[in-house]
């Protein structure tokens, strides 16, 4: 009575129980290295000063947060097509890690805004979109928590993931149109295009580090999901 989806746990559990999670270790080291680079080896930005350095955490986290949702949506489509529960476990893992990354963006955003622009929240278009991404993630996780039936949970989550990914461009458009018609007196965020090379390098290093960390966390979470599903199968749920 073994199916492909239950062949995973044995090998996965052995790896994490017996050996070291190398990916996780590498990811943590990468983040440490990126932080060191941000703090010590990257020049200050002329106008904003030290606070601007939060940007090197803020932007990569944002990119990975949205990418994580892309993984949720694509895994969802693939699950509806193929019916393999492994795809749903991948979606579930990416969603939980994604919501954490989104929270990081929503925390670093105000931390950056306050010293530079004087207020905690500015309804900046991209940050607002990230706020809605957070709400969509939360809805997704609440939905998962509210369904006991394994197959139903996977199917409904896939639907919500796909619809959520369709929603993002509409929210972006609505908020963008709203903002261009309601110009803020505050100078809008400085963006990437005119960054000098050292800053771009720091940004790239930081992005790689955060993405490695995302992958390591998702893999851990995926193993947890696989073991939990196996346990539920054995309990006859």
């Amino acid at each position: 009575m073994t199916s492909p989806s239950s062949a995973g746990p044995a090998s996965g559990a052995a790896k994490s129980a017996g050996g070291i999670d190398w990916l996780f270790l590498v990811a943590v080291l990468a983040i440490a290295a990126a932080l060191a680079r941000v703090i010590y080896y990257t020049p200050f930005e002329a106008v904003q000063g030290p606070a601007q350095k939060i940007f090197y955490l803020h932007l990569p986290a944002a990119l990975d947060a949205f990418m994580a949702f892309g993984v949720v949506a694509i895994s969802g489509i693939a699950y509806l097509w193929l019916g393999d529960l492994r795809l749903d476990r991948a979606a579930e893992s990416s969603a939980e890690v994604g919501v954490v990354f989104t929270t990081v963006v929503l925390v670093t955003g105000p931390l950056w805004a306050r010293p530079v622009w004087g207020t905690w929240w500015t309804w900046d278009a991209r940050l607002t979109l990230t706020l809605f991404l957070w709400f969509i993630y939360v809805g997704y996780l609440v939905l998962r928590g509210a369904i006991d039936d394994r197959a139903l949970r996977a199917r409904y989550s896939a639907i919500l993931g796909i619809l959520g990914s369709l929603l993002i461009p509409f929210i972006h458009l609505s908020v963008y149109l709203f903002r261009t018609l309601h110009p803020r007196p505050i100078v809008i965020k400085p963006s990437a295009p005119s960054l000098p090379p050292e800053m771009l390098t720091t940004l790239a290093i930081s992005f790689v580090a955060f993405t490695l960390f995302y992958l390591a966390l998702v893999r851990q979470r995926y193993r947890l999901a696989t073991e939990r599903d196996l346990l539920e199968l054995e309990e006859g749920r």
């Binding site: 009575m1 239950s6 197959a151 199968l233 749920r237």
Partner: protein, 233 residues
Amino acid sequence: MITAQGLSRRFGGRTAVHDVTFSLAAGDVLAIFGPNGAGKTTLLRMLAGLLKPSEGTGSVAGVTLPGGAELRAAIGYISHASMLYGALSARENIELAAKLFGVRDPRGRSTRALERMELHDRADTPVRLLSRGMQQRVSIARATVHDPLVVLLDEPFTGLDDSGSAALGAHLAMLRATGTTLVLVTHSIAEGLALATHAAIMRNGALVRLEKGEAIDPATYLTVYREHVTHGA
């Protein structure tokens, strides 16, 4: 009329129905007995085209399972839930079913169905105000208004008192008399055997015993049933 070959259905890791094989001709009545959780409802829902089989093949009224609209058009499905809209009257519930099944002259057919089930004097009362026994009659009328070739019944005797059970038994005998093939899942061995041409016992998803009517001795069947169910013979 109905064939099943190795029908199985799994939910996650749990096998609800395992390797069920049988065959019924038009006009046969199969009574399926078994304890709770034996997989009887799951089997019935597969035959109704509401659930896809995980393994095996089957056909109902010439349509291969799971079938689609074509299969559903030939089947009437009755369960212990009434499947009625409480706020609507018996007539409205039956007419809605008639229209959804694309029946010609839905109003006329509904009226005749109401008369057959002796419901004409309460036809326009909201269904939630009717007794359980009457609701069951409305359910049967609703499920048969399109003259299905096969009627599947999931524990229809549940919640009925003696007179209600007797009335239901009579109505099912009437159905049988019209040549409809019936599959009846029930806990009630006496009522089931009274109608059946074939009797089966299900346990843990498998059909452990199947026999034709003539061979069944109602007096001893209860003992046989208990043996299978408690001792797993």
